[in-house]
Symmetry: C2
Subunit: 209 residues, 2 copies
């Protein structure tokens, strides 16, 4: 006989186990949980998934996930539209927004250059970034990508592509994390943080003092 006593159960376990990090056992636990809950939970969970995929839009300006043609950030006139923060994906936008320290707008690449995964510059939203910079009144581009080889490669590629425009290109600061102890920091980070030392006054953040 079939391991699952029900085709319906088997079907939903199969679908759930296609999600990243969810194996058959976890999928079964989730399916049994859904069965135990009120039926309106299954209804709202299921329809929220279907609606999400069918109705979602991507902002025409920054490629952020949005409910309309322009995302809330790009549509906000109070944001500084001359400062562009280049990030890998939507989660990075959320992370930076949560800091409350950035008032510019974003440009989402949709990934980083990674030859190992077969992702080249043409797979990313780099063309539209260059077009935006050439057409709009951009003062500064802040590169906020992962500090990995792939992130550095992407940084360099974009830097080269934009170097003939008269704009400031910066990267987010790299160094010792706040709260970290020096003896546990890796050599490269520590070495670079000595080379790129900064005026003491800059380290006096509002939060701490």
């Amino acid at each position: 006989m079939n391991t699952y006593s029900s085709k319906l159960l088997e079907n939903s376990v199969n679908e759930l186990s296609k999600l990243p990090g969810i194996g058959k056992k976890t999928a079964l636990r989730l399916a049994l949980h859904i069965l135990k809950e009120e039926s309106n939970y299954a209804e709202s969970l299921g329809s929220s998934i279907i609606e999400l995929r069918n109705k979602i839009q991507y902002c025409k300006t920054c490629h952020n996930i949005s409910d309309s043609e322009a995302c809330e950030i790009c549509a906000n006139p109070k944001r500084d539209h001359s400062t562009l923060c280049v990030v890998e994906d939507v989660r990075d936008v959320m992370a930076i927004e949560n800091t409350g320290q950035f008032n510019g707008v974003y440009h989402i690449l949709g990934g980083i250059i990674s030859p190992m995964d077969g992702i080249g510059p043409s797979d990313l939203n780099i063309e539209s970034l260059i077009r935006k910079v050439s057409e709009d009144n951009t003062n500064e581009i802040i590169m906020a990508l992962s500090t990995t080889i792939e992130g550095d490669t992407t940084n360099y590629y974009i830097y080269k592509k934009l170097s003939h425009f008269n704009i400031k290109i910066t990267t987010i600061a790299r160094g010792i994390s706040i709260g970290d102890e020096l003896e546990y920091a890796d050599e490269i980070t520590l070495g670079r943080s000595i080379i790129n030392r900064m005026p003491y006054e800059n380290s006096l953040s509002e939060e701490r003092f």
Copy 2:
């Protein structure tokens, strides 16, 4: 502004994070994964969840999850309907079925007696078990519950309820797991396994010899 740039995204993250073991961060990862996949995946995942909850039935005889009034096991005339294996939930049925060592039928309690969680005998399918035993031609009841205090309590409660019927009541064997080393076994298990020692011939399983 809202942390999520889209209400649709926020909504599905909220629904997904109601699942056990899935927090907001994981839910966001799952939602973004669903967005990256073809739209028919979202469709089949979402509708499988809704269908599961709306169309599922429980076997009238054993309370197993089923697509019809009688589950595949209870409907199978080749199974030994006079041997009843009492288990906590559906997952236990699957686990025992996977061993291929049991040809009887099941009775699913839907939980175990756990005063700490407010679960008493009346919350479980115990009445229907007693009715089944009194009406049908049952020879043996195998108690296959967890070897915890709650499991033991439930075992004892059911044992008392069934003791005036002329049937054999057994529990699954408890002892040292196959492949375990003695020095790491806990004292209670080891102590009991000496008291409940069994003829050597019984330990010669087909699989190993």
